[in-house]
């Protein structure tokens, strides 16, 4: 009796292949497939009806989808830039501290230790128009007469959400930039001083180019993070009021699980993933070119 023998490398890789197939590939393919069907969670038989690119066309022509898309990009742009500036400032200050720096570095990480859901609740309370800290403070300082409807007005709500995002994640930038500052070679800085640079010029022409790769790494990580933002928004505004803080994933989540239109949600999800991929590619390009600037990569 002869039995077909598998080559040893395949045998050794088999467990990993099986797990990857079961955990990643099958759900991925299934969701991709379902995005071409009118799959409705409550009506399983709809999974077998092929409707081609109908869902994609529908998403592409749905103004609500594009508004959420645009708002996500807006949130991403504002939050990332704010976080970068604040993180840079924070890192520069902490790097100058000589005593108790460890303690500060640890304290800097605190916001990252909270669940985003809790942060959402906390900021929802802070920005609450009746009992919130912000309004209380503004009113007792006499800065405003009336309560400001932070989470009701669309722009203000987006602002509040950005505040929450910035609060939790500035430390990602701060930590990575701080690592860059620790690795910063001192000699070129001294050379710059002798060459006539003011502290600002030293920073602009020597320190900053060196930090750029670190900043781009943080940007890449955070762009993925923000592009899939869900929890904080869900808790703070639930995409409301009247969809004015709706982001891609709150829209997708609602479509999939509240409206149970899974096929359509999956189609939107795949478009959203393209956005994430685009940002990642963009920042990695930037990272590569910044590293090449420094003569670090080729």
């Amino acid at each position: 009796m002869t039995r077909a023998k598998l080559p040893p490398w395949l045998v050794l890789l088999l467990p990993a292949i099986v797990i990857i197939l079961a955990v990643v590939m099958v759900p991925l393919l299934l969701s991709l497939y379902s995005s071409f069907t009118p799959y409705h969670l409550t009506r399983p038989e709809t999974l077998w009806k092929w409707i081609g690119t109908f869902n994609y066309v529908k998403a592409a022509t749905d103004p609500n989808f594009w508004r959420a898309f645009g708002r996500t990009v807006l949130l991403l742009t504002i939050a990332l830039n704010l976080e970068m500036l604040l993180g840079l400032g924070l890192a520069l200050m902490v790097s100058k501290v000589t005593q108790g720096q460890r303690l500060l570095r640890t304290a800097m990480m605190f916001p990252m230790m909270f669940s985003p859901i809790l942060v959402g609740f906390q900021f929802k309370f802070i920005f609450n128009d009746n009992v919130g800290l912000v309004n209380n403070a503004l009113q007792s300082l006499g800065l405003t007469e009336r309560a400001i409807p932070w989470l009701v007005d669309g722009n203000l709500a987006l602002f509040a959400i950005i505040m929450a995002e910035v609060w939790t994640s500035t430390s990602v930038f701060a930590i990575l930039i701080l690592a860059g500052l620790f690795a910063l070679p001192q000699d070129p800085l001294e050379a710059a001083k002798v060459d006539g640079c003011t502290p600002w010029q030293s920073f602009r022409y020597v320190t900053l180019p060196f930090l750029m790769p670190f900043i781009y790494i943080a940007m890449a990580i955070r762009s993925l993070d923000v592009a899939r933002a869900y929890d904080i928004v869900q808790v703070m505004t639930n995409g409301g009021p009247a969809r004015r803080t709706e982001l891609l994933w709150t829209l997708i989540g609602r479509t999939g699980y509240v409206d149970a239109r899974m096929g359509y949600a999956n189609a939107m999800g795949y478009i959203a993933i393209l956005l994430s991929i685009a940002f990642t590619v963009y920042f990695f390009r930037k990272l590569q070119s910044a590293r090449r600037e420094l003569g670090m990569a080729d």
Partner: protein, 361 residues
Amino acid sequence: MAQVHLKDVVKRYGALDVVHSINLSISEGEFVVLVGPSGCGKSTTLRMVAGLEAISDGEVRIGDRVVNDLPPRERNLAMVFQNYALYPHMTVRENLGFSLKIAKRSQREIDAAVNEAAEILALTPLMDRKPGALSGGQRQRVAMGRAIVRQPDVFLFDEPLSNLDAKLRTQMRVEIKKLHQKVGSTVIYVTHDQIEAMTLADRIVIMRDGHIVQVGTPLEVFERPLNTFVATFIGSPPMNLLSGVIQDGAVVLADGTTIPTPPDLRVAEGRKVSLGIRADNIMPEGHSLPPSAHMAQVEMPVLLTEPLGTETLLFTQLAGTEVQAKMLNPRPVRPGEVLRFGIALDKCHLFDAETGASLRS
């Protein structure tokens, strides 16, 4: 171009003094070399002049300005660092022109100055490379170029050649000397290599443990070392030192060998001394010590030879101390062979055995 004056300059780290009250006046256009063993405070001194290190006490003047509290950018000097400290993200051209760009010079002026420096240092074919793509010697030349472009009052060099191989070092030494003759700026140059010091300097400043031990022209410090430290530090191979006692106008060594004292020295009977003889002044007979009235003869066994081509170094022994001698027009010498050596007494030195201070005064 400017004078540089250091007056009672001290550098203190906490309670630790690493530079003790240094005084030094450097005139316009002078090439001064700070030399000394590792850790003696050469770099620290240089960095205080540059403004990269705070001055704990005393006063540094450049030209007629006290610069103690001026940041480096207001001192108008250029520095070449030991590891070059080039800007890694800028091309050679940008590295060279950076200080002028910061000074807001016109692009035409910058190009002219950069191209001239590139010409002098043969950097023209490398202008668009980044420092990462240069060899050590090329980086060193870029660092030099960056300094030249600025046309500073004072050039500071901190061991700029120590990362180069021997041949390149010799070559760059000549380049630096030429450069100084051409631009004529004041130069302070730090090295721990006494050959570099001897060949480059108008004046050598020998430092040890944060003190200045001796200041003088290369010939002065070579011919009239103030103490055994300078005597053994300057000159290669280092000066031989033999301990002995003065008796009847001669130095009596441990094994009873008697060598007359140098003719121009009067030393008290019974004083403990070190007799200093350079290898060039102790040679086997028949191997060309210039004839002199003041010669002494000793017999020594040759333990080891180091042929250098035109001359051979002989490692011998006298009164239990190793003595290095030179043999010009060398012939093969067997280890263990005993030779008669002539010592040129008028070139010998006497130092106090305890303090090491020269007895020539």
